[in-house]
Structures are given as structure tokens and as C-alpha cells.
Subunit: 336 residues, 2 copies
DNA sequence: TTGTAGGCGTTATCAT
DNA sequence: ATGATAACGCCTACAA
């Protein structure tokens, strides 16, 4: 293996000078720099990142823990975060938590191994009871739900507000029997609970009665379960003319399930999702949704993290919280 | 920061003994082990991965370079690879190459920085001309296309065979004017060229004439361009009753474009894609596709890489190639 | 502008 | 079964 020493010898300088050249330090005579660069090129020298990490105490990599990278929402989020992180000269390693509390705790533990300079954790399973576990002395940013006033920075979605807007949109389009396909509620502040709240509020505002038969709960936020839930709703005979789905992925499944049941969207039933994933613009019919501005969320999350990583010692700022704004995207599935 | 030294002191042993305990070496008296573990727990000690990497020369992380992680195909591939890699106690860091030759070369350079123990590179832009650039002395596995007899291991898709089967399927379902939405052809052996070949072969086999007006080329394999290409085909007046799309993502866009053009699938036009991404099962109509067995490909790629990583010095095996088998999944879009 | 010394935290090797 | 020693390759601090 070629080391800095070898390069130094070949270039007739000290190892330090080579280091200076590598790290673009200003005080190197350009002639010396040339000589060193030539030696680097000839020997095909590569810095040993492990050695640099050990010496500097940083790795240049941040972790991104998401439930499952193959869900469109997280893929699109990851793409954004990787792009933004690259602008800060940071690499991104992806961990899959499997949408479980255990997986999320495992991701936290990894960053404590100092494998990453910081961690962006997209939580689903952690709740207020886990506040203490987040009290780690490594930079962590929570992304996704508005969990609670935890000890760490937090980039949140406008869950209940967005859900309320989505449900109201259905009502404005003439729906009077609005169903909900909702995810697992594991606490008071997870994504499903918050969006459920927004749904309920919108019904109240519109003066529409809440009918429990119009709520179809699912265990996982997948297309498969979205389709199954839609078929259940269609088969239950409850009669409904609109559905708010807890996520777009679920909604795309629901579109499929409604088609299976012979219901036409938007003619018989109007459908709206949440997240505005790219696929929603291309489904048939195209999917109305709540757009929480992913790019802004990704940029803010990385920004928070970078700021934390720059903090020296105990000069800690108080935890920050950012709630993304949102907009409603009306497409064919609500008759738009 | 708590180091092995601190633990050693607290437990009244030498640092080496702590190391032995951490690494599960056999010759440690269980009483000693207990004492050390207790000290580790009390001090909340975490191994310093950078130091370990420097000492062992390995990082425990492999790189996965894909064009864009937010394309469903690559998201699903990444999820598989992360799962398999975890079984080998390997983490996966994801690089996005932007589907460009430069991006792919950059990913190669990173692994040469010894950031990763190995690299799985999903190529789109590299071609036969780049053979020399792949001649690196770090474990690399090429994944995706059947590029060429390069100097590295290669897990390939059955591109032309699959494309032939897809096109044949359309013919068998009664199509006589089969269109192709094809991606950018940048050489003789990229994914678009190979699938184009399969399309042509199937037409020949069926005794159908090749009509260049039925080929709609696109620059990027996105839903957007798939939709645009379908609209172009519909507007050109060439008359077609089937479309083979170079990927499922493109096909889902095409379904949208056909709907925009007032063409019904499968009644007026039948559609088939390639990749069998999860979304295809839930589109309306559901999408027929070629399924190349992602899990097998992912498992094989990681297997190849792990084997390479275990090779000592110059005892190199010859490059291996694996071409995944495939199956055809007939769904609604071809009248299934 | 360039060089010297020292150590980051861990583990391989070789003793005992 | 446990430990002493010596690196791994780099960079911070200081010196020249």
C-alpha cells in the first residue's frame, strides 16, 4: 500500500508537505505542490480514510435510518438527502429499521459507535416513552413525525393540518361520506394518529358525522394493505363517496382496490393521499395529495445536523423544531 | 471519550484482554469476561470504529452505486442488497451516480479510497471502452447490464432474452403492430440496446415487419418520458396495438400517456414492461412485466463481493459472470 | 514555506 | 489465560 511516506520520499519532501498538498493548505510553493502531485499520480496514492478518521475524529459520513428504502416516499427522501449532504461533502449510509422500534434503536446505537458523524432518524416506532433513549451525545435529527418535545432536533410534517386539508378538500368536492384508511396507531403522536386527528377535525368543521364503519385500519403502510382496505370498505356496504388515505403509497393501493371492486374514481369515490410521491402524478387516475415539500424538509434536516456536528463540546443549543409547510395538489382522483 | 484503556483500568486487566472480550475470543476466563463486560457497561464504552478500521484494514461497509435511489427499481434492489449484506455483517452506503459515466467513475474512485471494503456498481454509462478503468485492485461487482467481458465479476440481467419474451408475449396476445419505447443507446451493450435487440428478434421470429415509426426513443428512463413517448406514439397516427417498454417505470408512465391519449389498455393497446417492480402489481391496469428475480441477483452480487473480499493478495480467481433467469408475469395490461 | 515529534484507539504478534 | 509491545497512516501543534 502506498502511504504518504512513500509519496514524500518520491517527491523529496516530508510527509507533512504531502499532507498539506492533499488538504489544500495554502502555504505550499506551487513548484513543490506540482512535484508532490506528480508523485501522487505516479504512485497512484490514495488517502487512507480510516487513518484520517482516527486522527480527525470524524468520518465524513452521516447515517440515514428509514423504515424501508424501497417505499417510494423514503426513496425520494433519501435521494434528496444524499444530494443535499453531498453539498456539505458528506456521504450517506442508509440503515433500514423495518419500521420497528427495535430497528430504530439499533440505528441509534450504531451512530454511538461513532461510525457516523451524525444520524438522521426517520421514526415510526419510537414514542414519548423513548425520550431518554434519544438523549445521546451524538448529533441526531428526527425526521418525519411530530413525535414530542424530545431532546433532539426535529423536522416534522404538518400531519394533522395536512390531513385536515385533505379531508376538507374531499368535502369541498362534494363528498358526504368520507372514509379513512389509517395506519397503525401506536401512541398519541405517530403519523397515523395525527392524520386521524386531522380527519376527525375536518369532519367536525364540515358538520359531518363521524362513522367508525368508514375507518379502515391497516397494519403496514403498503400498497397491498391499501388495496385490501379499499376492498373491505367497498364490501362493507357502508356507502362512501370519498377516501382519505394516510399515505400516497396506501392511496395507490386503494385506487387498485377500488378498481377491483368496480368503483370508479373519481366518479363513484374520490381519493386523496398524503406525501405527494412522484408516482401519484402518473397513476390512472392521477392522485390528489398533500405535498409537504420534501426538498425543504431534507435540506432542513441536513442543515440541523451539520450545525450540531459543528458544535464543540458542551456549547449545545436547545433542540430545534421545524414543521414543514404544505400545499394541496388536486389531481384527477378528486375530480380535479 | 471512553477507550479500551479506561475499561481495562476499571476492570483491572490489560487493554488486550478487553479487546479479546469485545471480539469474542475464546480464551478468556468467564469470570474475567464478566468483569470486563460490567466495566464496559458502567463506563458506556463504545468501540472506535475508525481505530479498528485502521488497524484491521477493513471497514465493514460496502458501497452500492446506483443511478438514482428514488427510482423504484433501484430502491427495491437496494433494499434487497442491504438485507443480504446485513447477513454478512456488512453495512451498505449508497452512492448516486446520476446515471452518468462520470458518476460511475466517481463511485469507483471512492472505493479506491478504501472507504469501502467492496463496491457493487450498477452501471448505465460505462461501456467496453472503460474496461481498463475497472481494472482496480479492490473488490468490485458490476450489476445490471451485460456489459462485456470485463475484468470484474458481473451479475447481469437477461436483457435481450427477456425483451424477446416480452415482445413475443404481445404477439401471442394478438398484437400485430408492436411499438417500443426505448431508452438511450450509448453503445452496443447497454440495457436499451440489448432490449432493443430482443424486440427486433421477436418481431423477426413472428414474421412481423420492423417499422421504425413504432420506436419511440427517450433520453431518461423516467415515468415522465414514458408518458411523453406514449403520447407521441398515439399522436403519430402510425397505428399500434402493443408497446414494449424498456423498463416498468417507463411503462407506468406510458400507461398514463395512453390514458391521456384516450387509448384503453389492454383493449386498444397492450403494454408490457421489464423489471417487475412492486408498483406494477397495483397500477390500473396492472402491468405485465419480465421478472428477473431481484432477490437472486442481489444475493449473487453480494456473494461475489464477499468472496472477493476474502481473497488474500494475488490469489485472484478469474472474473465470474451470472445471468439471472427470468419469468414473465402476465397481468391486466396485456389482457391477462 | 517546510519539517519534527507525537499520538489518535485498536489489535497482531509474540511472550509468559 | 493474560499481557507487553509495536504498529496501522494520518494530521495537530509547534519549531525552524
Amino acid at each position: 500500500m502506498v502511504t504518504i511516506q512513500d509519496v514524500a520520499k518520491a517527491a523529496g519532501v516530508s510527509p507533512m508537505t504531502v499532507s498539506h498538498v492533499i488538504n489544500d493548505h495554502p502555504h505550499v510553493k506551487s513548484e513543490t505542490r506540482e512535484r508532490v502531485l506528480r508523485a501522487i499520480d505516479e504512485l497512484d496514492y490514495r488517502v487512507n480514510v480510516a487513518a484520517r478518521n482516527l486522527r480527525t475524529g470524524r468520518t465524513g459520513t452521516i447515517g440515514l435510518a428509514v423504515p424501508e428504502i424501497d417505499r417510494p416516499y423514503y426513496g425520494q427522501l433519501a435521494a434528496e438527502i444524499i444530494k443535499v449532504a453531498a453539498g456539505h461533502h458528506l456521504r450517506v449510509a442508509i440503515e433500514q429499521t423495518g419500521a420497528s422500534r427495535e430497528g430504530e434503536l439499533a440505528a441509534l446505537a450504531l451512530s454511538r459507535n461513532r461510525l457516523y458523524d451524525g444520524l438522521i432518524l426517520s421514526t415510526v416506532g419510537l414514542g414519548p416513552a423513548d425520550t431518554d433513549l434519544l438523549r445521546v451525545d451524538h448529533p441526531v435529527v428526527i425526521l418525519g413525525e411530530r413525535i414530542f418535545d424530545g431532546p433532539v432536533d426535529h423536522v416534522a410534517m404538518p400531519n394533522s393540518e395536512g390531513a385536515r386539508a385533505a379531508t376538507r378538500h374531499l368535502v369541498e368536492r362534494g363528498c358526504r361520506r368520507v372514509a379513512l384508511i389509517d395506519g397503525p396507531q401506536r401512541g398519541e403522536v405517530d403519523v397515523s394518529s395525527l392524520r386521524y386527528d386531522g380527519y376527525r377535525e375536518a369532519l367536525d368543521e364540515a358538520g359531518l358525522p363521524f362513522d367508525p364503519r368508514l375507518v379502515a385500519p391497516i397494519e403496514q403502510l403498503t400498497m397491498e394493505q391499501g388495496a385490501a382496505a379499499a376492498r373491505r370498505l367497498a364490501g362493507s356496504g357502508g356507502g362512501f363517496d370519498g377516501v382519505f388515505c394516510v399515505t400516497d403509497t396506501v392511496a395507490i393501493g386503494a385506487l387498485r382496490g377500488l378498481a377491483d371492486s368496480g368503483l370508479r374514481v373519481p366518479h363513484d369515490v374520490k381519493v386523496i393521499g398524503f406525501d405527494n410521491i412522484a408516482e401519484g402524478a402518473y397513476s390512472v387516475p392521477s392522485l390528489s395529495s398533500i405535498d409537504p415539500d420534501h426538498a425543504l424538509m431534507a435540506g432542513t434536516a441536513v442543515g440541523f445536523l451539520v450545525k450540531r456536528m459543528a458544535e464543540k463540546g458542551r456549547a449545545r443549543q436547545a433542540p430545534r423544531e421545524f414543521v414543514s409547510p404544505f400545499s394541496l395538489v388536486a389531481r384527477e382522483s378528486t375530480g380535479g
